[in-house]
Amino acid sequence: MASAPAFITKIVTRNEELFADEVVSVVAPGQEGCFGVKANHAPFVSALGIGELRITTPDNQTRYFAIAGGVAKVQGNVLVVLADTGERTLDIDVARAEESAERARARLFGAGLEEQVDLTRAEVALTRALNRLRIARHGR
C-alpha cells in the first residue's frame, strides 16, 4: 500500500499525554457522530462524545483509545484531542468497567418508581462503561 501523507496527533487528558506521534488517519467520536481526520484536513473544532478513537499509524497499525467527553481541534495538520477521560486499550481495567456497568444497570432498571434516580447520570455511566468494555475486547 502506498503510504498516505501523515500528520501529528496528540491526545491529552488532564493528567497525562496519552499519545503524540505521526498518524495517517484518525476516527474520533464526535458529539454529533463520528468523524474522520486525514492529512490536510480543514480547520475544525468538535466536541467529543463517548466512544472509541481509532488511530492508524504510518506502519499501518491500528490503535484504540476509550474517550469520554472532551474536544478535538484540527489545524495546520495537527490534531489535538483534549479528552475529559481517555485510556489506552491496555490500561482499561476490565473488571472495574464491568462492575460499573453492572452498577449503572441496576440503577437504571432496578430502582423502584418512588426512588429518585438520576437517570441521565446513570445512563452516561453505563454508556461509558460499555464503551470501555467494547474497546478492551476488540482492541487487544
Binding site: 491529552v12 493528567n15 458529539q31 473544532v45
Partner: protein, 290 residues
C-alpha cells in the same frame, strides 16, 4: 573549665540533632516537590492546549454570551487565597498573605474570602476577614477537595453572590522562582489566555465548529475554569515545597557552620585543659626537684 567543655559538647550534640531534622525535612520536601511537579507538568499541557483553543473559539465567535465572560458591576468581591498548611518554609506563606491583604485593601466593595491551606485561614482570621469556607492544602490531582473548591468558586460566582473572583497564589516557575501572584479568575478572559500561551498571538483561522461556537464555548469554559483552579492549587503547593527546600537547606548549612565553630571551641578548650594539666605536672615536678 571542665564544665564549659561539657556545655560545648552538649550544645554541639543538640545542633547535630537539629541538623538531622532539617536535612530530613529538606529531603522530604524534595520528594514531595518532584511528585507535585510531575502532576503540574502533566496537566499543564492540557491547560495550554485548552487555552489556545479557547482563544481561537473566542476570536471566531462574534456574539459570545456566557456568564463567565460577562463583566458585572462589582458589588461584592471574592478572593481565593491559596497557601500552605505548615510553616518552616521561609517567607512563603507570609508573602501570599501580604499580597492578599494588599489586594483587599484596594477594594471599595465588601470582600469575602475562601482560603486553601491552614496557614491562610489563620491569617485571614487574624485580619478579621469574612471567610466563607476554608480547606487544607491539596497536593494530589485526585483529591476530592479540588472538586469541592472548584464547585464552591463556581456557585459563588454563578449565584451572583460575588461579581468578581480574584485569586492569590504562588506560581511555580522553577526551583528558585516561585513568585506570588494575584490574578483575576472570574470573569474569565480568553484574550488573557491567548497571551499566556507561548504563541506569538492568535492567528485568525476560519474553523468549522461542531456544535456552533457559542455552544462549544459554553462547554469549554467550565472545563477551562476547572483546569485553571486545579492548576493553581497544585502549583502553589509545588512552590511551597520549593520554598521549604530552600529554607531547610539554609538551616542545614547554618547548622553545619555552627557545628564547625563549636568543634573548634571544643578543641581549643580541650587543648587548654591539657596544657593546664601538663603545667601542673611540670611545676609539681620542679618543686620536688628543687
Amino acid at each position: 573549665m571542665a564544665g564549659s567543655l561539657r556545655d560545648l559538647r552538649r550544645k554541639t550534640k543538640a545542633i547535630q540533632h537539629i541538623r538531622q531534622i532539617t536535612r530530613a525535612m529538606k529531603m522530604v520536601a524534595t520528594a514531595k516537590l518532584k511528585r507535585i511537579q510531575r502532576t503540574v507538568e502533566n496537566s499543564r499541557r492540557y491547560q495550554e492546549e485548552l487555552r489556545r483553543l479557547l482563544a481561537d473559539v473566542a476570536n471566531a465567535s462574534v456574539e459570545v454570551d456566557h456568564p463567565y465572560l460577562q463583566a458585572r458591576e462589582v458589588e461584592r468581591v471574592g478572593v481565593l487565597v491559596v497557601g500552605g498548611d505548615r510553616g518552616l518554609c521561609g517567607a512563603f506563606n507570609r508573602q501570599i498573605d501580604e499580597q492578599a491583604v494588599e489586594f483587599i485593601a484596594g477594594q471599595s466593595a465588601p470582600v469575602e474570602v475562601i482560603t486553601v491551606g491552614n496557614r491562610m485561614r489563620r491569617y485571614a482570621d487574624r485580619h478579621g476577614l469574612e471567610v466563607v469556607s476554608s480547606h487544607a492544602a491539596v497536593e494530589r490531582a485526585d483529591e476530592p477537595d479540588i472538586d469541592h473548591i472548584i464547585g464552591e468558586v463556581r456557585s459563588w460566582y454563578e449565584s451572583g453572590h460575588v461579581d468578581l473572583v480574584q485569586v492569590v497564589y504562588a506560581r511555580f516557575d522553577s526551583l528558585v522562582r516561585h513568585p506570588t501572584v494575584s490574578e483575576q479568575l472570574l470573569p474569565l478572559s480568553p484574550q488573557a489566555f491567548a497571551e499566556a500561551t507561548d504563541d506569538a498571538g492568535p492567528v485568525p483561522v476560519e474553523y468549522i465548529f461542531e456544535p456552533p461556537a457559542a455552544q462549544l464555548l459554553a462547554e469549554l469554559l467550565p472545563r477551562a475554569l476547572e483546569v485553571e483552579i486545579a492548576q493553581i492549587l497544585l502549583t502553589t503547593q509545588a512552590s511551597g515545597q520549593a520554598a521549604r527546600m530552600t529554607a531547610m537547606s539554609a538551616a542545614t548549612d547554618n547548622a553545619d557552620e555552627m557545628i564547625t565553630g563549636l568543634t573548634r571551641s571544643i578543641n581549643r578548650a580541650r587543648q587548654e585543659e591539657i596544657t593546664a594539666a601538663l603545667l601542673d605536672v611540670v611545676t609539681g615536678a620542679r618543686a620536688l626537684q628543687s
